[in-house]
Structures are given as structure tokens and as C-alpha cells.
Symmetry: C2
Subunit: 348 residues, 2 copies
């Protein structure tokens, strides 16, 4: 047995791209982490660069969530995969009524990815996490050969603390409850689609990617009887409401004229034969509240910078079998089918 | 605006493969989760199928870790990507001195992946997690188009509770400390390499993938002054020890004749020009303990079923500059370089 070092020589012109060797856990991995990743996320928990982060005790119930992000393209008007990976996971905590506390970030990189792209994504993760006041406490980096992944995937896991008194869930939804959204529908999906296809829209749609925890804090802090919250991402408001009717055994009736949709998104949807109800949002809150609290909840959302275009869009009904329905502009009520196919793949 | 359902028709012969639509967050996603994923991981935290899991309060410091798994091939003698994703993340907790409590699992699937492969991996994750007594409390599934990922990637995040009194870290390592491993080196890396290349070895090497928490519990429970623990995965024992000498500003001297290596692995390494010190393990513990506790630590490891071939392999020295050295079979001391290249990509 010899101790000959069996590493491969590195090509000289490879300094600006991700190499397979960047994923091997040794010198180049450490250099990548130290030069690009760690300075971005510098905090007391991450600083030891161990394989795990030691965090203080958490009083009260904690909430854990995880999501992979595979959006294509990586950058689009209004955001990028980094922002999305921070906001999306924070939002999954927020709609449980949890204050986000910590994030972990796992990166899967394709060999050949320009290091500048990695730097931009890491900077974006850093900026979004800082703006949300949530430290990235641990992480991982893997590299797969050219062709084994498409550029860059991100997996974030979030830990949060449940807000005392928050009791949210589809099982708490009752007929008569009111349904609100915090703003215009479909912005994220159309922005990504336009960026991917080169579709030239005027005004150009921008992703709404944002942390929803501020909005959730407003609602819960005001003592509103919130029954259910969701960030309607993949499958849009339609998918989120189908989840509710499925679990709660109730129906919902939406008012088409009440749905807030930005003109650019409406135009793009008409052009493409899409319905904004099915298109992904990344910075919109769907809230179901007790009937008597609906107006107060609406005012609450509208006071927040992210909720200026909040709207009351429908109500929960006792109709059976459970269905999602919409009253159209001409007064006719139709069933909103659950999307089963893939109108917009790789949207997040 | 119309409410026309914009889903695509599904090909009739596609029932046994992953479709892009399985990732769209709507009906097919829910069916995939309900039919394949949820039954496997059934537990009170996952059952609500919300986007996050609500967990009880955790007294004492908590530990969080995350890792992506991109091993190729997905199945190999002794294990598969599912087992690896459970054990690897549990081991990152264990070597911090933390008892594993909860796991999250995020899957990135390539369109066209046979559902049977997904079922096998999910069953493997389930079995490994059950055997370790750690529930999978939340998860995520994304699908990317054919060619945008290689089959299946898994990202697991683990939460654990720090064992009271455990104070582990490279900063606690002192000259004179002894270095132990819990068993033979390089089994995992050679098993994956053999499976990937079709290399015909006799006896066929098997991955050592296993949870190390039992071994860690033994050591800490026996009151041994453990300074540092690591599971030497990517880059092997060499990479782990380079991390120590870098952080602690000490050197280490290994004894080549003391390194436990299985005959099949030794043969394969000689054939391939690899050094077992650089080859990944997925079920071996590297422990640095106070000098007076070394013999007791060795006995402790050997009492455990995973530690039958535990060995004392070297010691920490005050030599400067900090280096990893090895005394060869003929008594000559050489420097063990840090691996910088990619001898074995996609090993975990």
C-alpha cells in the first residue's frame, strides 16, 4: 500500500468554473466553501464549518420544512433561484404560523457551472436571508458531472418557532369562512415563463418572490381568527384550495371579478391560454378567516407593503361533494378543476 | 379570463414512470405523495401533509445538518442512495455528539425515472430511518425534465439534541491525543466504484453504510474524554485529518501497519492505484480521544457490533507546520497530502 496522492491534475484554464473536484470534500471543496460560501453566510453557528450547526434550545413547539428549488432559468425578472430558495422555505414556515429562525442550504452544482453564477446565487441567498433576519447555519455542496444536473439546484430547510396561539389547518375551515389573497395572482409563474421562452411582454412581468412572514405576523398579531394559510406556489391558488376542500370536506366559491391580476399577467395568460388561478405565486398569501374577521383581515393585509392589492376573493360553502367553484363575470358558477398536468414545469 | 383547465393529457403508457406533472404540486403530485411517499413514512408529524412539520419543544441545544446525495449508481452492494441519505445525515449529527431526532427528505426526480426505482429508494429510506428510530417528518418532491438530472437526488436534513456534556471540536485536540477508527477503511468508496465500473472483485466489496450514533453513544456514555469525532466520507480519513490539523494547528502521525483495511478493498486499491486513506467511508467513526482514555475507548468501540475491527491508528503530535504524516511499513515517515482532485466523484 502506498500513500501516493491519486488526484487528477486540474486543467489550467478551469479557474472560473465548477470542477468535479470541487465536490470531493477535500482541498478544492474547502477552498470553494471558504472563498465563496462561508464569507456570504458568516455567522456564529456556521463559523465552525463543522458538518452540523449547534443551535440554542428552542422553547415551545418548533416547525421544520424542506424544499428543493430547480427553477429554470436561474435568473428571471424580480428574482432568482437563491431568493426563491430563501423565501419559499420561510413561507412554508410562515403559513404554519411559525417565525423563521434558521436555514440550511444544500447546493448541487453541475460541473462546468461558471463560478460567477455560483457567486451570484450565493450572494442572492445571503441578501434574502439577511433581509429576513434568518441566518444560514449549515450547508452542503455536491458536484455532479456535466449533464447530470442542469446548472444548479438548491435545497433549503427551515426551522421556526410556532407563534403562541396560532392554530392553523384545513381542519379548522368552516362554511361561511372568507377567503383572501394578499395581492395579484400569477406574477411569479408568468415572469419565469417569459424569461424562459423569451416572450416579450409589456410591461415585463416580475416575480413576486418575497417573505410572507411579515403579513402573517400582522394577521396573527391583530388577533384575527385565521383558520388556514398557504403560499399558493406550484398549481397556484387552485391547487391550494383543492387541498383545503379535500381535507376539510367543504366547498369554496370564488368571485372571478374579485381576483386581483396584474394587466401584464392577464395579457400573458390570455395569450397563452393559462388561468392565473393555476399559475404559481412566490410572494402571495392565501388566508381563510372567520366570517366576522374578514374585513379586519383585509385592512390588516392592505396596511402591509406587500398587501396593497389584497382582496377578498370568495367564501367557504357547505356544498357537497367538496368542490372549488367560481362565479364568472356573467354570474355563471363553474367548477374549477384541479390541475393534474404540467402547464409550467420547473417554476420553483 | 377563462377557467379552462390547461393541463396536458397524459400518455397512456406512462403509469410506471415519473412524469413532469408529478412535480407540479397538483393532483399527480398529491397522488405520488399519497401512494408512494406518505405510506412509507407514516408518523404523527408527517400525517397532516402540510408544507412543514410541527414538532415538540426541544430542551437543550439542538443540532441541525443537511446533505445532498447524488451517488451513482443508485444501488450498490451493501446499500443504496436511500440508506446513505439517512445514515449520512444521522452521522453528521452523531459526530457532533447529538442524538438524531427528526429527518426531512427532499427528492429531485428526473422525468422518466421508473416508479419502481422511486419505490425502492423510498422503502430504503423508510427502513433505514425506522431502524435508527428517527421519523421523516416533512419532505418535498420536485421533477425536472429528462436530462436535467441523473435519475434521482436526495437531500436530507437532520435535527438532533446535543448530548449533555459532549464538547467536541478540533479546537479541543491536543498533542498526545490518540486517533482511533471504528473499523476497516474505504469499504464504501470501493463498493460504489466496483458497482459503477463493473469491476469484478473477489470477495465483492460492500458499502459500510450505517448509523454511527450507537458507537458515539457508547463512547460518550462511558465518560471517555472524546475530543473530536468525524465520519470520514468524501476524501476519507485523510480529508478528515487535514481538517483537524488545519483547525487545531497540530500534526498527526499515523501508523500504516495499524490501518484496518479489508482484503478485497486492499486488493482493489492496489489494482486502481488508490490509497484507502483517501477513500470514502459511510459507516466508520474517526475518534480523537485523550491519551489516558485511548485503551478504554478502543475496548468500548470493539464491544459494539459495528466496531469489531476498531483500531488505534495514530496520535496527535506538536510538530509544526501542521501536517498529516504516516509511518510506513518500513518505518519511514511520509507526509500524507490533502487530496485536491476527484479520484472518486459521486461517491455519496
Amino acid at each position: 500500500m502506498s500513500t501516493v496522492n491519486v488526484t487528477c491534475p486540474l486543467p489550467h484554464d478551469s479557474g472560473d468554473r465548477v470542477l468535479l473536484a470541487h465536490g470531493e470534500g477535500a482541498r478544492l471543496t474547502r477552498r470553494l466553501i471558504r472563498d465563496i460560501v462561508q464569507p456570504a453566510f458568516d455567522n456564529e453557528f456556521l463559523a465552525p464549518l463543522a458538518d452540523a450547526a449547534v443551535l440554542p434550545a428552542l422553547g415551545g413547539p418548533i416547525v421544520m420544512t424542506t424544499d428543493s428549488y430547480v427553477v429554470s432559468p436561474l435568473f428571471f425578472p424580480g428574482g432568482d433561484i437563491g431568493k426563491l430558495a430563501v423565501h419559499g422555505t420561510i413561507n412554508d414556515l410562515a403559513v404554519c404560523g411559525a417565525a423563521p429562525l434558521y436555514l440550511s442550504v444544500a447546493l448541487i452544482l453541475e460541473e462546468g457551472l461558471p463560478l460567477d453564477v455560483l457567486r451570484r446565487v450565493v450572494a442572492s441567498i445571503r441578501d434574502a436571508a439577511q433581509a429576513c433576519g434568518v441566518p444560514v447555519v449549515t450547508g452542503d455542496t455536491k458536484v455532479v458531472p456535466r449533464g447530470a444536473a442542469d446548472g444548479l439546484f438548491v435545497c433549503t430547510t427551515g426551522l421556526g418557532r410556532l407563534t403562541p396561539g396560532a392554530a392553523l389547518g384545513a381542519d379548522r375551515v368552516r362554511p361561511g369562512d372568507r377567503i383572501l389573497v394578499s395581492g395579484t395572482l400569477g406574477d411569479h409563474g408568468i415572469a419565469v415563463l417569459a424569461a424562459r421562452t423569451g416572450l416579450d411582454l409589456e410591461p415585463p412581468p416580475a416575480s413576486d418572490t418575497a417573505s410572507l412572514f411579515g403579513l402573517v405576523e400582522e394577521l396573527l398579531g391583530a388577533g384575527i381568527d385565521v383558520r388556514f394559510l398557504r403560499d399558493p406556489t406550484r398549481g397556484g391558488v387552485s391547487a391550494a384550495l383543492h387541498e383545503v376542500v379535500d381535507q376539510a370536506g367543504v366547498s369554496v366559491l370564488l368571485e372571478e371579478q374579485a381576483l386581483p391580476v396584474a394587466p401584464g399577467v392577464r395579457g400573458a395568460c390570455e395569450l397563452l391560454g393559462l388561468d392565473p388561478l393555476y399559475v404559481a405565486n412566490e410572494g402571495k398569501l392565501l388566508a381563510i378567516v372567520a366570517p366576522d374577521d374578514a374585513e379586519r383581515a383585509l385592512a390588516c393585509l392592505r396596511r402591509h407593503p406587500l398587501g396593497a392589492r389584497a382582496a377578498l376573493i370568495g367564501e367557504v360553502t357547505p356544498e357537497s361533494p367538496p368542490e372549488v367553484c367560481i362565479r364568472g363575470l356573467l354570474g355563471v358558477v363553474r367548477v374549477v378543476d384541479e390541475p393534474s398536468g404540467a402547464p409550467l414545469p420547473r417554476i420553483c
